[in-house]
Amino acid sequence: MPRLILRRLALMAPVLLGLLVLVFVLTRLVPSDPAAMLAGEQATAAQIAELRARLGLDRPLPVQFWLYVTQVAQGDFGTSLYTHRSVLADLAERIPATIELALATMTLSIGLGVPLGVVAAVHRNGVLDHLIRVVTIAGLAVASFWMALMLQLVFSMWLDVLPLRGRIATGMSQPPIVTGLFTLDYLLAGDLRGVAHAAWHLVLPAVTLALPATATIARFTRSSVIETLQKDFVTWERAIGYPQRVVIWRYVLRNSLSATVTQVGLLFGLFLSGSIVVEAVFGWPGLGDYLYNAILISDYQPVLATTLAIGVVYALVNIAVDLTQALIDPRVAEQG
């Protein structure tokens, strides 16, 4: 097992370097001039040229890349032209917001998707199964930006029961930051009203993101449960008189979850891309929102750092999925 982990981590490095090269070249192709943007509208040509030299933008591309990589290796991701703060500080503030959203989404989609899949499998080809299939297929076809707007329209604008945007209301004071997850931080501070307040703001963005994820989980759980139901051990358990409930939820489900775990890795990709849109619509100050705003004004450093961060997270999740897979099914570990 440790060999498997090391191997996967070692394979990660060149891929991430490649990603960095790709995005670096892309950001340098942007037609707008970041130096001119930073210098402001009244800047003279000389001032812009001086700024460009100071940022190293007048050097050849490979040199610029080398400078960037050595800088990153020292833990310096540069400064955002927009927030005028170090990108690392920006990221540190924004990553917990995205993690909080991700955890809420995952909880929601696993908590709903697995039972839906099991119910559909047990009632295979019945009315419930068809109903669940329609919902899941539609769930995968919904555009999340549209879903986000429709939920805002109904629950925030018309019914006025859920907050329109943000992590907390504007007047509300932030909890003392320990983990960066507001719900958890309020809890640690013993502020239960704060917990409810922060959780309330999580509902709409998490539901939007969880919709396609729930659909995927339900579909895969359904088909693997159906497969497991045909195994001999299930027949045996039924024959010796275990109640249906015990057979399904204790034995069949456990033997079916391996396929669902694989899906969680894929879902994470879905989640990361969904979070760009959802964070933009709900004004959720996370990674996706940061990346999008940086791309809009061609702010190099945050774009590079965020893409890299997303690449790292994505790779780590996939490694974690493989490891979980190996833990559930030792045959996977042997193939290494």
Binding site: V15, L22, V23, V30, I137, A141, M147, L272, A280, L296
Partner: protein, 280 residues
């Protein structure tokens, strides 16, 4: 193939999907002839802003007084054109690369597969956004960004399938007869790999419609006044909650279009790849 076709036509959900796609195709081909106000694709009519749905304007009018029904129907062409071009372009790059890499192995496959690794190291939308941001927002830059980020999906599938097919005895026989590599790959391996490509392409159409609309919504795709669904939803945002109809209907159109491709894609997968058949 007749058997496969018969199965497709007897599967109710596939039929529903095919029906949706047929309607979409008709809208895409004959949009202007079908809609009441074809000029509303571009012309603003400020005197009839934000009219709610009525007998005159089925889906209401938008913030510039344009008929939402006409624009939604005409949006089918934009969506279908983007999806089709992206999928075809991605196939043209990904399939030959996958075939070559899978057949030759060695350094060639290492290089190609590591490049696909890099492209798939982040979700497609993230890279597509970065690519699109480099260009001026337009339908064609969105298409280019999507094709440039979608080809690895074809490449990987074709690579895996080619490696599987390559070990078949008939390939050994062809090699022994001295058949040229191109001939083996395109006349003999490709047909064996085709089902996997068709499945991926069908599902890819749906995925691409979704991602293209997302690019449009984020302002990195189609530019106004193109009747593009994602852009229409974005333009409608400032008129919420009053003008809800102008964001509701384009979004429903996206839902239907993607649903159509997903339903057909599922059915095609069941037929093409019995190993993945959804158990019923």
């Amino acid at each position: 193939m007749p058997l496969a076709l018969r199965r497709l036509l007897t599967d109710p959900s596939a039929l529903l999907g095919l029906g949706i796609l047929l309607v979409m195709l008709v809208c895409a081909v004959a949009g202007e002839q079908l809609v009441p106000y074809p000029e509303d694709a571009f012309d603003a009519k400020p005197w009839q802003r934000l009219e709610p749905p009525s007998a005159e304007f089925w889906f209401g009018t938008d913030g510039l007084g344009r008929d939402v029904f006409s624009r939604t129907i005409m949006g089918a062409r934009v969506a279908l054109m983007i999806a089709l071009s992206v999928v075809v372009a991605a196939m043209l790059v990904g399939v030959p690369l996958g075939l070559l890499a899978g057949y030759h192995g060695g350094w060639l496959s290492e290089v190609v597969m590591r490049v696909t690794d890099v492209f798939q190291a982040v979700p497609q939308l993230v890279l597509a956004l970065a690519f699109a941001a480099v260009m001026r927002p337009s339908v064609s830059s969105a298409m280019l960004a999507l094709a440039l980020t979608y080809w690895p999906f074809f490449c990987r599938i074709v690579y895996g399938e080619t490696r599987r097919v390559k070990s078949g005895l008939f390939v050994d026989a062809l090699q022994a007869q001295g058949a040229a590599t191109g001939r083996i790959l395109f006349l003999h391996v490709l047909p064996n790999v085709a089902p996997a490509i068709i499945v991926r392409a069908t599902i890819g159409m749906g995925v691409t419609i979704l991602v293209a609309a997302t690019l449009g919504f984020l302002g990195m795709g189609a530019a106004p006044p193109t009747p593009e669904w994602g852009l229409m939803v974005a333009e409608a945002r400032k008129d919420l909650p009053e003008g809800w109809w102008q964001s509701l209907f384009p979004g429903l159109a996206i839902l239907l279009a993607v649903l159509g491709f997903n339903l057909v894609g599922d059915a095609v997968r069941d037929i093409a790849d019995p190993r993945l058949r959804r158990s019923r």
